[in-house]
């Protein structure tokens, strides 16, 4: 009796306290919900809303990818396959809803279309995961690449399902309405996207807290030991793969409603690569990492591409810089900075950090100049790069010299400051 009592007492003592549980596991989601509700009150423009919608889709997509990479340790080069197949399934369902007369699809609300996407993605995951998850590591990655190529090619061949190069279109303003939303205007779609981004994020976080979710981490770290505590690592990978495919399909369903079109391009290697960058730049070791990555990269994709035709180059540079200097991604940087803030010497470190950032910016600015004048030299439009109104003609040696000098100053400055930080 007595012993029973002590054991039970320790159960409640062990693990994080209620307070810690709340601040770590519940509060972030309350903040997220509040943000999602407050944003439309700030009166964002239509462009801002469509950017936000794109961000929501990519958040779910990147989080679903990280179930594989961050959680289970599987690097897939073909994650867009599940996004695309889920999205196509949803797209077809959108048309079934439109042309249904009664029956299941007649009473199916358009708002719930992402669930169809989830089913499509999970089904694709269950089929493709079966051979893929027999191996982990590099073989898994290679198989995922092969499958990505295969499905992308299939997308162009099976016209009846994928609609050929034009893809498949639909009309989201059909079917039963939910929450009084007819999904006509972009701000109505915003609520739809916000709802599913929130649901998807909460569901994927909850997944990490289940026995299976914990086991995926065990399999990532030590698959051999997992076998000796009664679990089949292959089975754990397979189930994680299905879950990941399902949530990618959910994102696909969100995308189907948002854009009302799906083309085989959605299955291709380009979005598969982009989702890797989103997760990695955001930080794959943290649940929130891919969210940050999705926000930044979607923003860059829509805004930077207007500003410079070399935006993919900047994306590549950002990725390389992250891999080299901040392997924990944006989330890692945020956590590192907050950890240091409370410690003694924080102010000094902060100043040093600022100096390092400033010198880094100088180098970065030099790189921008070099890239931009190089682009203008080769694209033949004959325009002149004019940062802050200073004309830097591509043909003038001076422009190149300025770029090189800035890079040199930045790099040396960075070396000098980081060295000093290291010596302390």
């Amino acid at each position: 009796m007595n012993q029973q009592g002590t054991v039970l007492d320790t159960v409640s003592d062990l693990g994080p306290s209620r307070r810690a549980k709340f601040t770590r596991r519940v509060l972030p989601f309350i903040i997220m919900a509040v943000l999602l509700i407050v944003i439309p009150m700030l009166g964002p423009s239509r462009t801002a809303l469509s950017l936000l919608n794109a961000i929501g889709i990519n958040i779910v997509f990147a989080l679903s990818f990280n179930i594989l990479l961050g959680q289970t340790g599987l690097l897939s080069f073909g994650h867009a396959v599940y996004f695309g197949l889920g999205g196509y399934t949803a797209m077809h369902a959108m048309n079934w809803i439109e042309y249904a007369d009664g029956g299941f699809w007649g009473s199916y609300p358009m708002f719930a279309l992402p669930l169809v996407g989830f089913a499509g993605g999970a089904f694709a995951g269950a089929l493709i995961g079966w051979p893929s998850c027999r191996r982990a590591g590099i073989p898994f990655s290679m198989i995922s690449l092969g499958i990505a190529e295969l499905v992308a090619a299939t997308g162009l061949i099976f016209v009846s399902f994928f609609g050929g190069e034009e893809g498949i279109t639909g009309d989201r303003m059909n079917g039963v309405e939910m929450f009084g939303l007819n999904l006509g205007q972009v701000h109505q779609v915003y609520w739809f996207i916000a709802f599913w981004t929130f649901v998807g994020t909460v569901a994927m976080y909850a997944f990490t807290r289940t026995p299976l979710g914990r086991l995926t981490q065990a399999v990532r770290d030590n698959p051999q030991r997992v076998e000796f505590v009664g679990y089949d690592p292959q089975q754990v990978r397979y189930l994680a793969f299905i879950a990941s495919g399902g949530f990618a399909g959910l994102a696909g369903g969100m995308s189907a409603v948002n854009y009302e079109i799906f083309t085989p391009e959605a299955l291709s290697l380009a979005p598969s690569g982009l989702v890797i960058l989103m997760a990695y730049i955001g930080g794959i070791r943290y649940f929130a990492g891919p969210i940050l990555g999705a926000i930044l990269l979607t923003y860059m994709q829509t805004n930077l591409s207007d500003f410079s035709e070399a935006w993919l180059l900047y994306l590549g540079l950002l990725f390389i810089a992250m891999v080299l200097f901040a392997p924990g991604g944006l989330a890692g940087v945020v956590i590192d900075v907050t950890n240091r803030l409370g410690k003694p010497g924080a102010v000094q470190q902060f100043v040093k950090g600022l100096v390092a950032v400033a010198t880094g910016m100088i180098a970065f600015f030099g790189v921008v100049i070099l890239i931009e004048i190089a682009v203008r030299l080769t694209n033949g439009h004959g325009e002149v790069f004019q940062p802050f109104g200073i004309g830097l003609p591509s043909t003038s040696l001076m422009s190149w010299a300025i770029g090189v000098c800035l890079v040199a100053i930045g790099v040396f400055g960075l070396k000098f400051t980081t060295k000093q930080v290291g010596e302390r």
Binding site: V7, L8, T10, V11, L14, G15, K21, A206, F207, R209, T210, P211, L212, G213, R214, L215, Q217, A218, D221, N222, Q224, R225, V226, E227, F228, V229, G230, Y231, D232, Q235, V236, L239, A243
Partner: protein
Amino acid sequence: MSEPPVLSLRDVKKDFGPAKVIQGVTLDIAPGERHAIIGPNGAGKSTLFNLISGLYRPTSGEITLRGKTISGVKPYRINRMGLSRSFQVSNIFSNMSVRENVRCGVLYSMGYGYNFWRNIGNLIPVQEKTVEILDSVGLIDKADQSAALLAYADQRTLEIAITIASGADVVLMDEPTAGMSHSETDRAIALIKKATQGKTLLIVEHDMGVVFGLSDRISVLVYGEVIATGLPEEIRNNALVREAYLGDEAELPGVEA
């Protein structure tokens, strides 16, 4: 011993290419027995454990657990049949906390399998069992530490904790005290004794004091062959064993016995 053996090896052989590492081992382990495997380095003790626990498939021969063939069966299935093992080199989940490590060992045996709809934090029986194990091995104070940051001896203890967590009734321990100090060894052995009460224990151990103090029977493995099996006294007095392994008398503890 009229009771049927719980674990039985019949002429088990294992080759790695040309190397014949296990050359026909036949061994019966009775239920509830504490059985030590001793032998010089490279004799094949760990390989034998790897064969029994399913990591390797025997080249020939048969292994049965309670009458069922387990040679060639996957490790996780053997584990589910109630056989658990520890590793000579600590094999833990280093990115997890001590508590999570033990919880991984507990989960399957508590029937949660690949559950993906329940919050692990709300599985009270799992938490209780985890706490009980942590308490019994003396790691309760370090429950929330990262396993990677544990001191060496504590990592070894955690290895034992994961192994006994499922409550398997056949337990294989591969040099559980390797690298521990004297006092740590004593504590670990006391712990193993307590945790395997009423269970079958197969243990590889180099410390002869421990071996002769702990085991009901001992088998001596040399070059992949069992050259003797018997009660501790029989082994101590076996001429072959002395010649092949124990060497000079000075190494033999318990002359007082």
